[in-house]
Amino acid sequence: MSLASTSSASQSVQQNSLWWDAFRRFKRNKVGVISLFTILVYVLIAIGSATGLLYPHASQGEQYLPMSWQHPFGTDIFGRDILGRAVHGTSTAISIGLLASSLSLIIGVVLGALAGYFGKKVDAAVVWLYTVVDSVPYILLIPALTFVLGRGLINVFIAVGLTSWVTTARLVRGEFMKHKDRDYVLAAHAIGAGDGRKIFGHILPNVAHLAFVQFGLGFVAAIKIEVILSYLGLGVDPSQPSWGLMIDDAKNELARPFFGNLAAATLFMFGLILAFNLFNDALREALDPKMKNK
């Protein structure tokens, strides 16, 4: 018993320093820090609009007003302030990104871990499953799923989450295959750790950096897919504020010409996705063990 506690104590010291190293490297990357702050600002905007602090009620005015101080992006066809729509769209985008990539992360990590750790029949079954899902192009699979599930925010994230776990599962499986016979796992086995403990307590923390990077990539992909789904009429409900629906509206407004919806949705999306892309890049560099002593 005392042996077990000392070993887990030293393990946690080791873990802390590993993550601490990554944090230190990340902190030195200015672009990464700035993009992290940008993401936090977006999260605050999302929380603010979801709780009704920002733009609490959509004020109805005249339609298609040009840009002004009162309406920086003008008003849309129903006379709603477009900046307000874009602000509310932020909470839709962030919740889709967060929930869809969490779902795909959980499925991917669990299946990948089980396949890599147990091997044999479990591995064959998981590999079969992800090859099947991967063989159907996502542009067919996601619309098919939302078509079956129906429109709406929750269905969009279920559809995206259920289809985007393959890469995570493949990577985690590969790492588990490499790690399962390493000395530290054998040592854990020797002191009586069960399968669950070895998988989640010992191996998973050592491959978690992969999951972090995949989470970021999934987040960006989910937001982009929402836009396309909304254009295809398979996305969120039309009453929901969403950047995808704004771009879809813009399609019929360009000839007027009116650019408010297109400009606002594109700018908001560009800021968030670029920040996330740069943050992912910085994160990957910080977590890369090859960069450890640099």
Partner: protein, 311 residues
């Protein structure tokens, strides 16, 4: 290697079984009653019954599934519910239009991006390299819908340089309608392509052979052109081959916006019409193409790299 290829092709059977099971379950079990959906909101119960019998939906689910698998095995996909056209004809009609959109853009983008990535790695750490990476990430931060809308508006609607949309069935008249879609496809592929090729080439630039070449005093340009590019072509080929199914599945949105009668546009129409036979046929076809190109990529990898032995 032949044994490996045969084993991989045999492995396609359980995968295809899974794909058919997945699509069948999605549409026939969870998708509600296709006959009712298809008959419209105001159809009477008798009308729905007639349509159900007509579409073969009155049989039991296992019987319908067996029929579906039989269709696939015999390459007889039946007819579209919406247009009553033979699905095999729809595929052969669409494939020419899709390929004339995707193939030139794909080839041009691949070549251009490999060279830009090579220069980027050559000047790694400089402002030029950093600029390319940030530009790529910036390009990838804008929705593909926005590119299509904005370029169509600016260059075709406002600038009048290209027709807004349309199609000429003859090969000679087609390019006029395709130039703008080509440009858009090219621009859309720049970001992801350059970043992938840059990563692949970067991996090669620090291998032992590159160091040896530097140590024996070869010029850096010579090392990149003769040594690194040649070795990087191995992973590049596999990446390009794996991406090739895009040539067939096409660019759904671009075809939709520019009225190109290709496979992508047909698929969107089928999704809007709840045209299940067409959707199922396209799903199975895409899965087969995807698996074949994956296999081809693995075989090519071992063919061009003598170190890789497939067993």
């Amino acid at each position: 290697m032949i044994g490996y290829a045969i084993r991989r092709i045999l492995y396609m059977i359980p995968i295809l079984f899974g794909v058919t099971l997945l699509t069948f379950t999605l549409f026939n079990v969870f998708g509600g009653d296709p006959a009712r959906r298809y008959a419209g909101k105001h159809a009477t119960e008798e009308q729905v019954q007639v349509i159900r019998a007509e579409l073969g939906l009155d049989r039991s689910l296992p019987a319908q599934y067996v029929y579906f698998v039989k269709q696939i095995a015999t390459f007889d996909y039946g007819r579209s519910w919406a247009s009553k056209q033979l699905i095999s004809t729809m595929i052969t009609d669409g494939i020419g239009a899709t390929l004339s959109l995707t193939a030139p853009a794909f080839a041009a983008s691949t070549i251009f991006c490999i060279f830009l990535a090579l220069f980027s790695v050559y000047g790694r750490g400089t402002i030029f390299d950093r600029g390319i990476v940030v530009t790529c990430l910036g390009l990838m931060s804008i929705s593909s819908l926005v590119y299509i809308l904005a370029l169509q508006y600016l260059l075709a609607f406002r600038g009048g340089l290209f027709p807004i949309s349309g199609w000429d069935p003859s090969w000679a008249g087609r390019w006029e309608y395709l130039t703008l879609p080509w440009i858009i496809m090219f621009v859309l592929s720049l970001g992801p392509n350059i970043l992938i090729f840059r990563t692949v080439i970067m991996d090669e630039a620090f291998q032992d052979y590159a160091r040896t070449a530097r140590a024996k005093g070869l010029a850096e340009k010579h090392i990149y052109a003769k040594h690194i590019l040649k070795n990087a072509m191995i992973p590049i080929i596999t990446v390009v081959v794996i991406e090739m199914p895009v040539l067939i599945s096409g660019s759904v949105l671009i075809e939709n916006f520019f009225g190109i009668p290709g496979l992508g546009g047909t698929m969107i129409k089928a999704l809007n019409d709840s045209d299940f036979p067409v959707i199922k046929a396209f799903t199975v076809m895409s899965a087969v193409v995807y698996m074949l190109f994956n296999l081809l990529s693995d075989l090519l990898y071992s063919a061009v790299d003598p170190r890789v032995k497939l067993g």
